[in-house]
Each structure stands twice: as structure tokens, then as C-alpha cells.
């Protein structure tokens, strides 16, 4: 089974033998890939029990838990890399979660859907209803994505948390990536998502 392209792009950023915490690790596909191809010592956090089971059966150490409440329990710089993929928009307190990720990991990888993409802008402008996309296919009242943001919003949040952006990749619907300038206006309209490699004030 091949890795989802956005996860493959994340995997590519991770050095061999790193200690990694994958927050919202799902069924453990990324962690297993990292363990087998990069000898990564990985840990996961996942909210949904069946997905935790899938991880445990793969021999992956995964904590059933919640990014909003459980990250505080980990010591500072406990991991080389902390990862939060396509999940920050579903946390209750994205700023706090980002702060914790930057504290726990020497580096942090965040991927997110871009609510500033032109199709979403057009949908709201012309349709007058909260946009539904393939990636964010929920009604406004039942969406788990309670804190959607644009690439520009996230860049501002990273800055206010004292994070430096080391790399930024634009992500399209197929999960393909290309390098982008995080603060440029283009990607904020054209990219469907983004992946950031950050580091805090360690």
C-alpha cells in the first residue's frame, strides 16, 4: 500500500533514525512507513479507538488521546519531530496546540487545508453559503473543522508563536507538492493545502 502523497511529502522531510510524535496518526500508515524506511522511533496520538487498535496491531506505540489536552504531558524537546497533519483546523485551541507541538518537538511539521483557495472564495462569494469542498465535505453546523484558516492566517499564527518557517510546500487536491514562499500571496489563492516545517525557540 503506497503512502498518501501528502504523507509521503512529510516523510521526505524526516531524517533517518529520528524520534517522531505523530499527533492524529490515524491508522499509523505514516509511522509504519517511517519505521520501516527510516528506522524512525515513532509515537502516535489518535482520538478514535478503532484507529488506535489498528496502530497497536501494527506494533506501533499509540496513545488514545486528544491533541488539545494530552500534549501538555510530554517533556520539552522529547522528540526530534512533532507532526500534525490535516488536523489543526479541528482542534479547539489551535494556538495552544501549535505552541505545545513546538515545545515537544525540536522541529514541527504541520499540514493544513487552505481556506483561502480561490474555489472556496468564489463559492462563498457567488453561492453565499458556507463552502463545501472535497477535502472539507461538511455542513457548517456539523463540521469537525471548527478552526479553518488560510495559509496567510497560519503563517501569522506561527509567527505569533515564535516559530520560524524552515520549509513550506504547497499541496494540491491530488496531494502533490511543490515548494512555495509562505508569505507570497499566490499560494494563498492557488494552493489547496500546505505543509510547513517549523522550529520553535529551542
Amino acid at each position: 500500500m503506497s503512502l498518501r502523497p501528502d504523507l509521503a511529502a512529510i516523510a521526505e522531510m524526516i531524517p533517518v533514525g529520528a524520534r517522531v510524535l505523530d499527533v492524529g496518526c490515524g491508522d499509523g500508515a505514516l509511522l509504519e512507513h517511517l519505521a520501516t524506511t527510516k528506522q524512525v522511533d515513532g509515537r502516535g496520538i489518535e482520538l478514535i479507538q478503532q484507529k488506535v487498535n489498528a496502530c497497536v496491531a501494527r506494533g506501533l506505540p499509540v496513545m488514545q488521546g486528544d491533541a488539545d489536552t494530552d500534549l501538555i504531558e510530554y517533556p520539552a524537546a522529547a522528540f526530534d519531530i512533532s507532526i500534525l497533519s490535516l488536523t489543526i483546523q479541528a482542534t479547539r485551541n489551535p494556538s495552544q496546540v501549535l505552541g505545545q507541538l513546538l515545545r515537544i518537538g525540536r522541529r514541527t511539521i504541520i499540514s493544513l487545508p487552505n481556506f483561502g483557495h480561490w474555489r472556496i472564495r468564489v463559492s462563498l462569494l457567488l453561492g453565499g453559503r458556507m463552502p463545501r469542498t472535497q477535502a472539507l465535505d461538511y455542513e457548517w453546523y456539523d463540521t469537525p473543522n471548527i478552526h479553518l484558516c488560510t495559509i496567510a492566517d497560519f503563517v501569522a499564527l506561527a509567527k505569533s508563536n515564535g516559530a520560524s518557517i524552515e520549509r513550506a510546500l504547497a499541496l494540491n487536491e491530488a496531494g502533490q507538492t511543490r515548494a512555495m514562499r509562505a508569505e507570497a500571496w499566490g499560494p494563498n489563492i492557488l494552493a489547496e493545502g500546505a505543509i510547513f516545517l517549523l522550529h520553535g525557540r529551542h
Partner: protein, 386 residues
């Protein structure tokens, strides 16, 4: 010469088959400073030890459990207490693993405990039996493994007090434990849990037939006190939701309330039954000793108050399991252990199983628990080639 007193073992297990038993001459030095010697350990095994001796799984039983995890109980004739979990093709698969389960020190199914004869006096120990701890239970199990020639176990697994032993194993003998599965337990006994145990002990000691623990010499047995202790404890093993679902306010074999104190409600009848059947298979003094061992359990206290220290540098792989409706050993207590392990960069998984069956869920048919334990154990076994 006066006629020798008649010794009555309070359990009907007096001549029951206790499985395997080994009497060891090596003294067991206890936390209280005393020693037990000789010491007999009763145990059961299931499955076959492989040539590399790498497929052993040690099961630790709970307060009122015993070595009969996966075979019929010799006194009650009921199936083993963990037959849903242990057996051929079960999550702890005896076709693959060699499972060992021993009766704890202080117990009453063949291992040295207060009901057994003190070799120094020729009488039952009674209250002269030294107070034992969870760590003492684990030391005795380690002696049993030495006797069986098993240096390392693939996993130590247990729920409730069994889970306490699992944690103690990982702390005391980390190099002997490849993986550990503490289920529905805690690294310390809470004030509320001590309180419930004290109610149980007081019920036993208030029974005139207890006779300061010497009931065996008098041919009596504090059955009423022990039954009340069991009834009170049993409530803590369930949940309000499960009690409501199973019993509600349903009346027991009657159309209306009796305006008396008989068992009007089904829940009363159920609890009375639990109490009555318990005394047939359990010794009252054992109940005092084992509840005390649980009360004294505080893994952090051994380490100057820091739980994380107990697992410092541990290479053991942990799977911690809790249940949403368990209020005796709630998820928060289980998670404290997980966090202490994470603080040590230990390899730890944690799952919280959704159920309304309370603490007892670990003994029941909980498919999600089975899936998790099966997956974890097989993954560990595959890694070490067991």
C-alpha cells in the same frame, strides 16, 4: 495431652485440586521485614513453552481471582475467570504462547496464605501471617519463574490488582519483561478505594465468627461478614448505568413491595447471591490481607514520590487499557501511568474502551479489548520472533 484442635480450612477448597504447586526452600523476604519459608506457590499453565523459552506470558489475577484463568474452577465448577481472553485461538492464544498464572502470596487457593499451616506452630497462620504487598506477590512470581527456568517473559498481563502486579513487575524486573499489559488499574490505591476496602474488612472483623482471625481453630467462619464485604465491593465493580440497565427497580419474584426487609428488589437478590457464593470459595483472612496489599500499593512512593522514576530507562513495551465507565480505576488513573511512561520516552500504547459495564469490563466480553490485546501481543511476539 489435650485433644488437638480441629483445623478447618475455611474454603471448600480444602481438598480441591489446586493445579500445580511447588514448595520453595528459598525464603521470601517481604516488604514488612519478615520472611516466609518455606513458601508454596500454586499455579496453572496453559500451552507449551517453546525451545527458546521466549513465548511465556504471565497472567496476574485480581483480588478474588486465582490460578484458574483458563480452566474450570475446582470449587465452583465455573469456567476460568479469563476464558474469554486466554485459550486456543483466544487473544492470549495458548496455541502460540505458554501461559502461567499463579495464586498470589496471601491467597487461598494453594499458595502460602493466612489459611495455611504455619510450620513453626503447626496451626493456621491466621493473623500471625505477615502483611504482604503487591511487590511481595511479584517477588514470589519471580521465584516461580526461576523455578520454571524462565528468564524472560514475553508479556505480563493483568487487570485490577493484576494490573498493579504488572506495573510492579515492570518496575522491579524491567529486564525480565519484554512487554506489559496493565488493564483497569492504577499506580496507587486511591483514598476512595482504600475506604471501600476498609468497609469490607470491618464487616469481616465485626462478624462474631471471625474470632480475631482464629476461626479455623474454632470451626467457625465469618461467612456473613465476608459476604457483606463482597456485596459492598461488588457494587464498585459495576456502574450505575449497568445496574440501571440490568436491574432498574425491578422486583424480585413478587408483584409488589413487601413493606419488609426481604430482597424486594432484583438488585438486592443479586448482591445477596454474589455474597453467598463468594464465601464458598474465599477465605476471610485472605480477603483482609489481599485488600491491605492493594491499599499499600503506591509505586511512586517507592521512588521518592515520582512515578516516572519507577520506569526510568525501561525497554519494556506497554499497553495500558482503561474503560470509560470504570470509576474504581478510572481512565485518569490509568493515564497517569501512561504519562509517566511517556515522560521516560518509554514505548507505550494507551486505549480507553467504551463500555457501560464498569470495572468488571476487563473480565467480560469486550471485543475492542480483545482486538487490542491480540494485536499488541502478536506484534510483540513477531518482533522478538516468539
Amino acid at each position: 495431652m489435650a485433644e488437638l484442635p480441629k483445623f478447618i480450612r475455611p474454603v471448600t477448597a480444602a481438598d480441591a485440586e489446586i493445579g500445580h504447586a511447588v514448595t520453595l526452600d528459598t525464603p521470601l523476604t517481604l516488604d514488612c521485614g519478615k520472611t516466609l519459608s518455606p513458601i508454596t506457590i500454586a499455579y496453572m499453565t496453559y500451552g507449551t513453552l517453546n525451545a527458546a523459552r521466549s513465548n511465556a506470558v504471565l497472567i496476574c489475577h485480581a483480588l478474588t481471582g486465582d490460578q484458574f484463568a483458563a480452566s474450570d474452577h475446582p470449587v465452583t465448577g465455573k469456567p476460568g475467570w479469563w476464558e474469554t481472553m486466554v485459550g486456543p485461538g483466544k487473544p492470549i492464544d495458548t496455541d502460540r504462547f505458554f501461559v502461567i498464572c499463579s495464586n498470589v502470596v496471601g491467597g487461598c487457593m494453594g499458595t502460602t496464605g493466612p489459611a495455611e499451616t504455619n510450620p513453626e506452630t503447626g496451626k493456621p497462620y491466621g493473623l500471625s501471617f505477615p502483611v504482604v504487598t503487591i511487590r511481595d506477590m511479584v517477588r514470589a512470581q519471580a521465584m516461580l519463574l526461576d523455578h520454571l527456568g524462565i528468564e524472560k517473559v514475553l508479556s505480563v498481563i493483568g487487570g485490577s490488582m493484576g494490573g498493579m502486579q504488572v506495573l510492579q513487575w515492570a518496575a522491579s524486573f524491567p529486564e525480565r519483561v519484554v512487554s506489559a499489559v496493565p488493564i483497569a488499574c492504577a499506580a496507587r490505591h486511591s483514598a476512595q478505594n482504600i475506604a471501600f476496602h476498609e468497609v469490607g474488612r470491618q464487616a469481616i472483623m465485626a462478624d462474631p465468627d471471625w474470632k480475631n482471625g482464629t476461626y479455623q481453630l474454632h470451626g467457625t467462619m465469618p461467612a456473613k461478614g465476608l459476604a457483606v464485604a463482597r456485596m459492598a465491593a461488588h457494587i464498585t465493580y459495576l456502574s450505575e448505568a449497568a445496574l440501571q440497565r440490568k436491574f432498574g427497580r425491578n422486583l424480585q419474584n413478587r408483584e409488589q413491595i413487601s413493606f419488609g426487609f426481604g430482597p424486594d428488589f432484583q438488585i438486592e437478590s443479586y448482591l445477596r447471591h454474589q455474597g453467598m457464593t463468594f464465601v464458598d470459595r474465599f477465605d476471610a483472612n485472605s480477603y483482609l490481607y489481599i485488600t491491605r496489599a492493594m491499599d499499600y500499593f503506591d509505586l511512586a512512593a517507592e521512588q521518592g514520590g515520582t512515578l516516572a522514576e519507577a520506569f526510568h530507562g525501561s525497554k519494556t513495551r506497554f499497553l495500558i487499557v482503561s474503560f470509560t465507565s470504570d470509576w474504581l480505576f478510572p481512565t485518569s488513573e490509568n493515564k497517569l501511568v501512561a504519562h509517566a511512561l511517556n515522560a521516560n520516552a518509554a514505548t507505550v500504547s494507551f486505549v480507553e474502551i467504551e463500555t457501560d459495564r464498569g470495572h468488571d469490563a476487563f473480565l467480560l466480553d469486550e471485543p475492542e479489548m480483545f482486538t487490542t490485546v491480540r494485536g499488541f501481543l502478536n506484534a510483540v511476539a513477531n518482533t522478538v520472533g516468539a
